[in-house]
């Protein structure tokens, strides 16, 4: 059974609570073809949004948003929606949401059987991509460090040759960063870098920047049809991650020929896979080769114990998309 993700943006807390309660009721029934989980708005297959608000308008208009992501506005009788979207009547009711989920499943099936969508390469002139390149480049000079402005409220200081960085703001704020926003990279001396504060392992920053760069596409030096395999698992206890990442990592414990093979094996959408591949590549966790023996992509077939593992997760309180 395929796994699909639903998320929300800009909804009042009461609606979010109701959404979660209705989802629990829906997933316990047998009316859907896919297994639906709560996910992150950046990569979810369906995002429920409020009909207005600047944050929602920006999100809907973001050109980096996945082309197959469905937006549905939660509308009351008097609400009008200024952007193109599906609609679901407020308050959220089981019948209405179920119908919407079924429509999304149908649409995704149609996309899946149509022509294969291209895996977009990230534009090389994008500032986030340039930052990713800087973080990847260990040969950027022995005494060079960088002040990066624009990622969060306060500058981030990076010393790739020392494998460290300094960020006084919450690292999670970087996940909210607009991948199209301007970033300024200014070289500083090693002494200036050392004066800034507590240093952290650079992998924490590489991971977050890699995940975020997934919003603009596959990093330009990664070919979508390469063979991918983990060199090592991401250091999950150290990194902000979700159950999605654990799943994709497990799929990449074996070689996979191309991004689409990872999507098929992990049963996660291409946006999530691209974000993971970018992040894992930046951190050096991923071995990427042009050709080689790989487990062929095939239609995923649920193993006999899948339902059992889901039961375990629920009993242990392992959320479907925890951090």
């Amino acid at each position: 059974m395929r796994e699909l993700y639903i998320s929300h943006l800009g909804l009042p807390a009461a609606d979010v609570k109701r959404l979660k309660a209705v989802m629990v009721a829906i997933v316990s029934g047998n009316d859907l073809q896919a297994r639906w989980c709560m996910g992150d708005a950046a990569t979810a297959d369906l995002v429920l949004v409020s009909p207005d608000g600047e944050l929602v308008r920006q999100f809907v208009a973001d050109p980096a948003r996945g082309p197959n992501q469905v937006i549905a506005a939660l509308v009351g009788e008097s609400d009008s929606v200024s952007f193109e979207s599906e609609k679901i009547a407020w308050p959220i009711r089981l019948g209405g949401l179920l119908e919407l989920l079924q429509r999304v499943e149908l649409r995704i099936r149609k996309v899946g059987t149509g022509s294969t969508p291209e895996i977009p390469p990230a534009p090389a002139d994008n500032k986030l991509v340039q930052l990713a390149k800087l973080l990847r480049d260990e040969d950027c000079g022995d005494n060079l460090a960088w002040r990066v402005s624009g990622l969060s409220d306060r500058p981030v200081y990076v010393a790739p040759h020392q494998q460290t960085f300094i960020c006084e703001d919450s690292l999670l704020s970087l996940l909210q960063f607009d991948p199209h926003a301007a970033i300024e990279l200014v070289p500083i001396t090693d002494a200036q870098f050392r004066a800034q504060g507590q240093r952290k392992p650079i992998r924490m920053l590489q991971w977050l920047i890699g995940l975020r760069s997934g919003r603009v596409g596959l990093l330009p030096w990664i070919k979508a049809d390469s063979t991918f395999r983990l060199r090592q698992f991401p250091e999950f206890p150290l990194l902000h991650h979700t159950s999605e990442h654990r799943r994709i990592a497990a799929a990449l414990s074996r070689p996979r020929s191309g991004i689409r093979a990872i999507v098929a094996a992990s049963e996660r959408n291409s946006s999530a896979v691209i974000a993971f591949v970018n992040a894992a590549s930046l951190c050096g966790y991923l071995k990427i080769t042009d050709a080689g023996a790989a487990v062929a992509a095939k239609t995923p077939s649920a193993g006999p114990r899948r339902a059992l593992f889901q039961v375990f997760r629920r009993a242990l309180g392992i959320a479907s998309n925890d951090a």
Binding site: P237, R247, A250, S253, A265, G303, P304, A315, I318
Partner: protein
């Protein structure tokens, strides 16, 4: 699960004495753990007052009366005859490695030899403890060791006192088994 009645499922926590098996099981068990501890007569191997001589046991209740049983093997090698007995019918194995021991990579080798069947299907996750105080061998060293055995298994530096670390390890194990199941289906 079948409709005949409640079923039991088993996950094994193994590793050397003092690696944290008891602590890891306690971190996620839904019941008060059953411990079979005795005075440690091998203080040379690990300096703690008591050690597990039978096995530790914890469990997590599942819907429908089913049970996930968590077993911790006795750490001392002289009890290795018990490891395979306890492993019968297990779904997967968590190997806990204590990085403060003289040769933790060799320790891992011993447990991989004993649980080879699980390792070959991806049913093993390796959790390395005390890496903050003992950073060597590094996690990369463990991956190199595994590559020498043609194995690609997850290795994490963890603190088993933190339940979120133990849950993460378990979820990775479930994912590895799901992927393995799907590809052999």
């Amino acid at each position: 699960m079948t409709p005949e009645g409640p079923q039991e499922h088993k996950i094994l926590f193994t590793g050397t004495m003092g690696a944290g098996k008891t602590t890891a099981i306690a971190a996620v068990s839904g019941i008060k753990m059953v411990k079979t501890e005795a005075a440690n007569t091998d203080r040379g191997a690990f300096n703690k007052a008591t050690t597990t001589v039978g096995f530790d046991y914890g469990e997590v209740g599942l819907a429908g009366g089913h049970v996930l049983r968590l077993y911790g093997t006795p750490g001392q090698e002289r009890f290795s005859f018990l490891w395979k007995i306890v492993a019968r019918g297990a779904i997967g194995v968590i190997i806990l490695v204590d990085n403060s021991r003289p040769d933790p990579v060799a320790d891992l080798g011993l447990y991989l030899d004993n649980f080879k069947k699980f390792a070959e299907i991806g049913g093993v996750v390796i959790a390395v403890g005390r890496t903050e105080s003992h950073p060597k061998p590094s996690i990369e060293d463990y991956y190199q060791f595994l590559a020498g055995r043609d194995l690609m298994l997850p290795v994490f530096a963890v603190d088993v006192r933190k339940s979120e670390n133990v849950l993460m390890v378990l979820d990775v194990l479930f994912n590895m088994l799901e992927i393995s199941d799907a590809e052999s289906a």
